[in-house]
Symmetry: C2
Subunit: 465 residues, 2 copies
């Protein structure tokens, strides 16, 4: 039954998309500005407990995007913007050194299961088109790519051999496949290249480094910048959301918030306006590695310079000394960024800086970022954000272990860890946790004080999902 229902929904969506394909301009921003509420907007409104009109107005203002390519039939659309819940992205993808399509599809499954809102396929290895097609087909969440990776493959890995025509071919090919959002480093300018020479780690964005090399070799402005209108044309045709890449993002704390980073940001602000003129949806990407005390300033500056376009940040890492634990160093920065107004957080896995993530790394990265995004939603006092936490609190006080596991971000793991603490041969879960034992359980003791946790907040029933 569930399968049939899903198939029906997909068929319905397919028919809806077919109709939309005959429109001259297909972007959500275009419809929103015409005052039209699309099916996607209604879906997003439902997820966010907002009105469709509110979602439409946010899109029209550029403060919210719905990355939903008209060729991604299996998508369940979602919104990314400062006035809706914070989203998280999981990067997957093979490299020349490893992974295969089945493995990548497993990563998609695990990422979505633990809460990834979008997936980026960053493959640089073999079978690029096949992997991407499979990922898009398997993914119910928006799929993003960085087309310059494939373009570079096509010219044998030599940045200087890239040509605009070849690049736009790749972009259009991927758009036709159904890619929902694409990172393009159109803000990397010839004049920026000089600015990174005083940095400790130069350029750490792969796309940024490729285009800086191209600019320098040819002594010319970045063709992504000069030909930007060709990108907008493709995006209008398929409703691809642009994710303006930050090729000049800092690769260490020492390089954060420098001239190269902020001059590029100014360019990204210009490119945002240029896209909006063509009704193309835009997100803006951000750093990277930033000391905690500089994070809110970075977010506020982006919001101002980029006119409220959703900010999609990578971490940022708040220290450089913990390779192997960078899901934690960066979840700290990500939570602060989201509290300050970042709309989407790109996860970092424990193996960042060391190797490409395996399935377990993907899971660990997603959970760390789900924590960061959720904590920030609570801190921003979004309506209902704390409900699940309150239900957990009640389950704890009631020693309802099954409910606690169920409410956990990772129920299987919570159950496993708890049960490891049970005395050997026991399976019964008592009215105390295996941390304190019976006599020392504070909540058990404080129950004797006549407390009743269910008196408070009567509006939030314990059975809400």
């Amino acid at each position: 039954m569930a399968r049939c229902a899903k198939k029906d929904a997909m068929t319905l969506r397919d028919e809806y998309l077919k109709k939309r394909r005959s429109d001259a301009v297909k972007t959500q921003m275009h419809y929103a500005r015409q005052g039209r509420v699309t099916e996607e907007m209604i879906g997003v409104a439902k997820r966010e407990s907002a009105s469709p009109q509110f979602i439409r107005d946010e899109i029209a203002a550029g403060r919210l995007v719905i990355p939903a390519n008209i060729f991604h039939a299996g998508l369940e659309p979602l919104g990314i913007g400062i006035n809706v819940s914070c989203k998280i992205n999981a990067n997957i993808g093979n490299s020349a050194l490893g992974s295969n399509i089945a493995e990548e599809l497993e990563k998609v499954k695990v990422a979505v299961r633990y809460g990834a809102d979008t997936i980026m396929d960053l493959s640089t290895g073999p079978l690029l088109n096949e992997t991407r097609a499979a990922v898009i087909q398997a993914s119910t969440v928006p799929v993003g790519t960085v087309p310059i990776y494939q373009a570079l493959e096509r010219v044998g890995g030599k940045p200087e051999a890239l040509t605009p025509d070849l690049f736009w071919d790749v972009v259009e090919f991927q758009a036709k496949q159904g890619v929902d959002f694409m990172t393009v480093h159109a803000g990397v300018r010839l004049k920026h290249v000089e600015l990174v020479k005083s940095r400790l780690t130069g350029i750490v964005s792969r796309g940024g480094a490729i285009l800086a090399r191209w600019c320098q070799e040819h002594g010319k402005e970045n063709f992504l910048y000069t030909d930007y209108d060709r990108l907008l044309e493709i995006c209008r045709k398929y409703d691809v959301t642009i994710s303006l890449g930050d090729g000049m993002r800092p690769g260490c704390l020492a390089d954060a918030s420098d001239e190269a980073q902020f001059m590029e940001l100014d360019t990204l602000g210009e490119l945002t306006l240029q896209a909006w003129k063509q009704d193309v949806q835009v997100m803006v990407e951000g750093p990277g590695h930033v000391p905690m005390n500089q994070i809110p300033m970075n977010i506020e500056r982006q919001i101002k310079v980029c006119h409220g376009a959703p900010f999609y940040v990578l971490g940022p890492l708040v220290t450089d000394i913990a390779p192997g634990y960078d899901h934690i160093t960066s979840a700290i920065g990500a939570a602060i960024a989201a509290q300050a107004g970042a709309a989407m957080l790109c996860y970092v896995t424990p193996c960042e800086h060391l190797r490409i993530p395996n399935l377990e790394d993907v899971k660990q990265g997603v959970i760390a970022y789900k924590i960061a995004a959720h904590a920030a939603d609570i801190a921003r006092q979004r309506p209902g954000a704390r409900d699940r936490d309150d239900r957990m609190a009640r389950a704890r006080f009631a020693f309802d272990w099954e409910k606690q596991f169920e409410l956990s971000l990772d129920p299987e793991n919570a159950r496993k860890v708890h049960d490891e603490g049970l005395p050997k041969g026991t399976t019964h879960r008592e009215e105390y946790c295996s941390m304190c034992g019976e006599g020392f359980c504070a909540m058990r003791l404080s129950k004797g004080l006549g407390l009743d946790p269910f008196k408070k907040c009567p509006a939030v029933s314990d059975n809400e999902s």
Copy 2:
């Protein structure tokens, strides 16, 4: 040789402590207020790259403590306060349900190895005195306890059976053993008990719950509050630092920053002044579970209400929905707390709320908190705080993998994770990481731009330790 040198240092310290034992008052605060610079202050000054006079003045003002019992001979003293680097504490200890002395000593070793600045022995199981003696002997860092646990054991786990005399006996016994700091819940007052009745999770501090039960059963004020001068007398004799426990700390986000919490804080402020009158060193403990947006306010309020006494916070957790990952939920809160001025962070392990930590949990907790404390030191722009990060950045740009591993918080793990990504049969580490592979390495590409990472910051040599 190293062993002999250590023995000599210990003998010297033993002789120094023997001399001090004949002083009428033995506290660092007493000496500081007399203008005297002790050996401990000199040691702390060296560690913090500060002058001994500065350390002395901070102690005299109550803003810094050196928990150093005159009977803890193997201690390498350190300072805890807002104007020195942020410290982290690791809790160890058995419960009725598990662990033994050898295991606890292993936890001490692992905790100190990965950077714990202090250890609290929270044992509630068998062999309490023997475990504590072994932990103090094995530990080069200050050791803390919560004496009410042992007191409760002695009365068969019945809070109402506790008597003041029995409690003070336990405190003096532990002080004689060399415990450097003790958590006492002297701020839990009879009048506070009523206030927790509207909470979701009541009282979650074990000491707090025990004393609230005692107050309620006897209809009397907490004897730790009424007899507080007896505590000060013992602390003056052994230089035990008081850690004023927050028995009313919130156990979930919904209960954070409520009346019960802040009324207790007011009492802790009074008790701080009362201790200082007797030259007794004081830290103040804090929550627990707090939404991100309330954390800086909590720290600022404590600093004001407690007259600058060092704030020692537990986490706080910024969401309640991630049991199994609470080292991460709380490291986010801890980093923000430390940036706002918390002096010491009590770690939380991945198994918080589920069972007592094993060796691996201790390691994971310590590393997460080392990250939080270090990130906050950088954010507070403490002199030299970022040096190690900058060396890591240079090592990354130079593809010096050995140096990167060496500079990591967990070198073995960084090396292991990196090497897992090497192509099968390879052991050679190339000029790219196993994340991107050769052609896509941004730093390798950006080297072609003529960048030289060693030009910047000539004052920081790459060989600094």
